[in-house]
Symmetry: D2
Subunit: 146 residues, 4 copies
């Protein structure tokens, strides 16, 4: 993917990685960072029984959590070094039951801004080399000076 | 609150409680059912360190999880006995940082339907007897015959 | 309704009314301001054939237009005198077919902010003295210094 | 764009065109169909003074109207011949002020279903050969047997 914008802080990867490591909730889920590029972040999540809903699939909120977090960090790759990001709001469509050994959320900035960035994310279910889009999210991220 | 509709299954409380107990992810969070009435369900969540985001507040997805789950079960209180509910999509606005010892999500059906129900939920932060609305969610729930 | 906040500009009604009058699109629809209170604005729309969709009902975007406009002006009632408002994003659930001689949108600020306000709106179909909620909207409004 | 699904009714273009022609509101706006392919529909809208908001730009609801209509008809290209489509809900992010002589909405089905289809749409502002994305929409469309 062509970067949609140049990063303003060359150390954006360090910043994103350090912030992700402070999110206890991501450790609770078992999620990990897979890619940190300007305007784009991927987060992987293996299925685990403690993440299931009443039918044994991945809970919609685990899907939502990796989509929103990938979006927020995608926005963070493009901010100045001392800025923070905060989700103002998001909307997610859950397209298919989340039944797979592994999931990947891809968050991308579609409109970078000084105060607000808008992101589009998808979550795919990975069955070996095959992937299937199971969720689509559109979100608004607030950029706060640090 | 006046019920917005009559339940079609007199055992709706048993159904909601049993389904909630099968959600491992709710146990992972530490969430519990507080109220199950026709068209309305409340879910409580005490703050805990394993639920935090990078600044130590409750992670947005923990807020989202109890709002969406309260909405889905609010819809389930009004379905026939053998039906299932599934979130089609939702949108949440995160209004304030989630900093409190305890949170409560209140989900309500604003439009019950045979195939789709629409719900409105709020999440409040509880500081003793004081409460503050920290999130608002609007969602669409699909009703599937069992 | 109890005002959720005090207006910072005592002339907020004049400001809202003047801005509404500059919206040619509201005149194209035939919409009119019905109430302008701190944090709450109502807009009425009589049904007319030029607003219909393919089945003869009010077009979803006419419903959307009065809900979003009522929300934006509800936010404007609480801003400083020289500020402008702009919809960042909104989500609407269309609950019932819009079939009535007259419609009313009620927009309310649920979270006033210096940079962003969050609003909740409903649109009701008016059949004489009876009303029926046909749409629910949750939106984010940006406040810009004038 | 590769069609995401095969149309079930070979006369889908005739159906979409006839339904669009019955929408008085599209004529009120001055919108026209530009492309009708399986799973994808484009609608064009020239700027006109009767569509403006208070600062003279295209009103957000005119942007919204062509995005939602393109999405609904994108869903209709993939339904059986006697089915109808209805927007259940949508969310739109308004990314930039809508200032251009001409606009184009592109609606695409990202998940076709028997009862519900999910669409993603963008609206671009056209300045001669240049285009700029000004809005992004994610929507849920209900498919009803005719």
């Amino acid at each position: 993917m062509t970067p949609i914008s140049e990063p303003r802080d060359p150390d954006f990867r360090t910043r994103v990685t350090a912030s992700f490591a402070r999110q206890s909730f991501m450790a609770t889920l078992g999620a990990s960072l897979q890619l940190v590029e300007p305007g784009e972040v991927h987060i992987a999540l293996p299925f685990a029984p403690h993440l299931s809903q009443q039918h044994g699939y991945l809970h919609a909120e685990a899907t939502t959590a990796i989509a929103d977090t990938a979006s927020g960090y995608a926005a963070l790759t493009l901010t100045p070094a001392d800025a923070e990001v905060l989700s103002v709001e998001f909307k997610i469509n859950l397209l298919l039951p989340a039944s797979a050994p592994r999931f990947l959320a891809r968050g991308r900035v579609i409109r970078p801004g000084r105060r607000l960035s808008v992101c589009l994310a998808e979550v795919v279910a990975l069955h070996g080399a095959e992937e299937e889009v199971i969720a689509s999210m559109l979100s608004t991220i607030s950029i706060r000076p640090g």
